[in-house]
């Protein structure tokens, strides 16, 4: 990503087209921010500034909105994103201890990213699969009826996949 003057970023073609499409629609800001997050996995500040300029919205308003809504991340997430459901149904069935165990196992604070940037750990609210409580989302996929053991087992797969990928990329 090239950073242009005044700490504003250039936009990808797709993002620029999206902003253009929404520019004159009332209430476009949140939709555009969603698009940014979809593209980058978070909302990089320079991109937000550039979008503010293009939409002719004051930067203060953009950052006001970004900080109000929990869904937007201002920091880059890990390669794999783990979201532990802490909705009522999952909480009652032990979601809290799964969250704590993960935090210990991965050595990462809740809402933080591991040192190797492989995993980010988040507590979220109801992912709509309460019938499968306790449930966790990993990279958007639901894993339900969890126990600590099953959770660790699942993570191993992700770990191995990443390590394999690392080995292959080094071999290349």
């Amino acid at each position: 990503m090239s950073v242009a003057i005044e700490n504003r970023a250039e936009l990808s073609k797709e993002l620029a087209a999206f902003v253009e499409e929404w520019r004159n629609k009332p209430g476009n800001l949140i939709m555009v921010l969603h698009k940014i997050q979809e593209e980058y996995g978070y909302v990089p500040e320079p991109v937000a500034r550039e979008v503010a300029r293009r939409l002719r919205v004051p930067e203060a308003q953009v950052f006001g909105v970004l900080t109000f809504y929990n869904f937007f991340n201002l920091e880059p997430p890990g390669k794999h994103r783990i979201a532990v459901c802490m909705g009522t149904a999952c909480y009652l069935k032990g979601g809290g201890s799964i969250l704590e165990d993960l935090s210990e196992y991965l050595n990462v604070p809740i809402n933080g990213v591991t040192a190797d940037k492989q995993f980010s750990l988040q507590a979220v609210r109801c992912i709509g699969c309460c019938g499968l409580a306790p449930a966790v989302l990993i990279d958007g996929e639901v894993v339900g009826k969890l126990t600590k053991e099953k959770m660790r087992e699942t993570l191993k797969k992700y770990r191995e996949n990443t390590q394999e990928a690392l080995v292959t990329s080094q071999a290349l």
Binding site: F71, G87, L92, R125, C126, C130, A135, E141
Partner: protein
């Protein structure tokens, strides 16, 4: 040639998380490979409600109810059942006294249910408008456009007694009437699909399983009130629901039941999607409208109500997903039909997400007036592991605990409020003897404190104080005065907070104290409670 067999595969979020998508592809493949494509229709449907047993596959007309079906089972299912007519016994759902082959309605989970809002969920392919149309879809819209007047629509809704399913229970016809009578150059219809209750997924399943019914209802609301634009405000956390809504809108436009000059009537109505961004307070209607406008979602004082002054200051009808989902069928079957179900003040049915410590968890739709006992024991199958029932929580973070003395209460808006809880949007969470009421109250307060927008003092400060006191009691450091303090602060919050979040935030704590005071007292160290008894 008509199909001889139908194979319905649930593709709701919960089942997809257990590979129902792969299962669907596999079954289709085996059906084709066995030259059965002419005889068997393989259907992707929305949630059957019994998510806990998913992935679920239903074969009709044999009425075979298969549960926990894995992609590896696809071949056997197709070659045995669909080809040779021999149901695969090992996958058929069983419970004491029921073997779910030819008698799906005997399954205790389904027995006391009555489906109005969920009428199509689990029966049709939500990504195919023709299936919705085949089940009387868009018939109500056609009737409204060509046969009856907007006033007739209001009258039918009034007869039906339909009240808002998003929590408040305001009569829908009256809301629409306010907007209809408001004079303005522009009006809007908004669907609240923000579903913030952290333990509930009624709206999600409706959107995933039957998106056209709510789109049809929004168009009807538009015609009735004089609006030409609708917005769906949906949680960004619901990607499948969003995708199916988008598909449904595109198909509806293609079929001329949305967009310009609907069915040649001269009436135009377009629907756009706006995404929420993880703020519970945005489920509150005034906050939600600001969020659609692209702003921070901070509630504002009502009146004026959105019905007269809403989105961009224009009259706006805002209803919940389930409210909308009930409307087309009210207009085809008649308000009187709907009003036959339910209690004196609360007509029709309600969808609940039954979760927590019950054997059968899932999505249910029951007539208003059903008892909690029926829900927990008949539908839910009771408490697992021989544990004792302790409480059921309704209304989410705005609701309260209901104890065993009140299990025979007939559920409706008024009875739940009288018990110190509320109908809410439909979360029903069962708790057993292992669950601590102090801890559950703390859990909810933790939620509302985090989600409070901070605009008004009673909510911002009061919520934090209650949370602090609950934490203190949970840590074994409380005093009996702390319990009284919680009640006092709760009353103040209820009386003087600006929006519903603050007004009801104390309810989980207040109801826990009301029914389980002894548990709070027991948590207090002996030296701090001399004067308690």
């Amino acid at each position: 040639m008509p199909y001889a067999n139908f194979c319905l595969i649930c593709r709701g979020t919960a089942c997809e998380s257990s590979k129902a998508d792969v299962l669907y592809d596999e079954i289709k493949q085996y059906v084709a490979a066995n030259n059965l494509s002419e005889q068997v229709q393989v259907l992707r449907t929305g949630c059957f409600g019994f998510c806990e047993q998913g992935p679920i596959v239903k074969v009709l007309p044999d009425e075979a109810f298969y549960v926990q079906v894995k992609p590896e089972d696809a071949e056997e299912l197709v070659t045995e059942h669909l080809l040779k007519g021999r149901p695969v016994e090992r996958l058929i759902y069983r419970e004491p006294g029921v073997h779910a082959l030819g008698n799906i309605d005997q399954i205790s989970f389904y027995q006391k249910q009555f489906r109005i809002a969920l009428r199509n969920c689990g029966f049709i392919d939500p990504e195919n408008i023709e299936e919705y149309i085949a089940r009387e879809g868009y018939v109500a819209l056609e009737r409204v456009l060509f046969e009856i007047s907007p006033d007739d629509v209001l009258k039918e809704l009034e007869t039906s007694g339909l009240r808002g399913r998003g929590g408040g229970g305001y009569p829908t016809w009256r809301k629409w009437k306010h907007t209809k009578e408001a004079v303005a150059d522009q009006k809007y219809v908004v669907m609240n699909a923000d579903e913030g209750d952290p333990g509930a997924y009624m709206d999600r399943s409706l959107l995933e399983g039957d998106p056209h019914s709510v789109l049809e209802a929004m168009a009807i609301a538009g015609y009735t009130t004089g609006a030409d634009t609708g917005f769906v405000y949906v949680r960004a956390e619901y990607p499948l629901a969003i995708k199916r809504l988008r598909t449904a809108i595109a198909q509806a436009e293609e079929y001329g039941v949305l967009g310009d000059n609907i069915l040649g009537s001269g009436f135009s109505f377009t629907i756009e999607i706006r995404l929420g961004a993880g703020a519970f307070v945005c489920g509150e209607e005034t906050a939600l409208l600001l969020s659609i406008q692209g702003e921070r979602g901070t509630p504002v004082q009502r009146p004026p109500y959105p019905a007269v002054k809403g989105l961009w200051g224009k009259p706006t009808v805002i209803n919940n997903v389930e409210t909308f989902a009930s409307i087309p069928v009210i207009l085809t079957k008649g308000g009187a039909w709907f009003a036959k179900v339910g209690t004196e003040t609360s007509k029709g049915t309600k969808v609940f997400a039954l979760t927590g410590k019950v054997r059968n968890t899932g999505l249910i739709e029951v007539p208003m007036g059903i008892t909690l006992r029926d829900v927990v024991y008949s539908i839910g199958g009771g408490i697992p592991g021989d544990k004792k029932f302790k409480a059921v929580q309704s209304g989410g973070p705005s609701g309260g605990m209901i104890s065993s003395e009140n299990l025979d209460t007939e559920i409706d808006y008024e009875t739940l409020t009288a018990l110190g809880s509320m109908m809410g949007s439909g979360g029903l969470i069962v708790m057993d003897e292992d669950d601590s009421m102090v801890d559950v109250a703390r859990f909810y307060l933790d939620f509302t404190v985090e989600e409070s927008c901070g605009k008004c003092v009673p909510c911002r400060v009061g919520g934090r104080q209650i949370l602090h006191l609950l934490q203190k009691i949970a840590d074994g450091k409380g005093t009996t005065e702390d319990i009284d303090r919680i009640e006092e602060i709760g009353k103040t919050m209820k009386a003087s907070s600006l929006c519903g979040l603050g007004k009801t935030a104390a309810s989980p704590a207040l109801s826990a104290i009301r029914y389980f005071r002894q548990e709070f007292i027991d948590a207090i160290p002996a030296d701090a409670k001399e004067d308690a008894v």
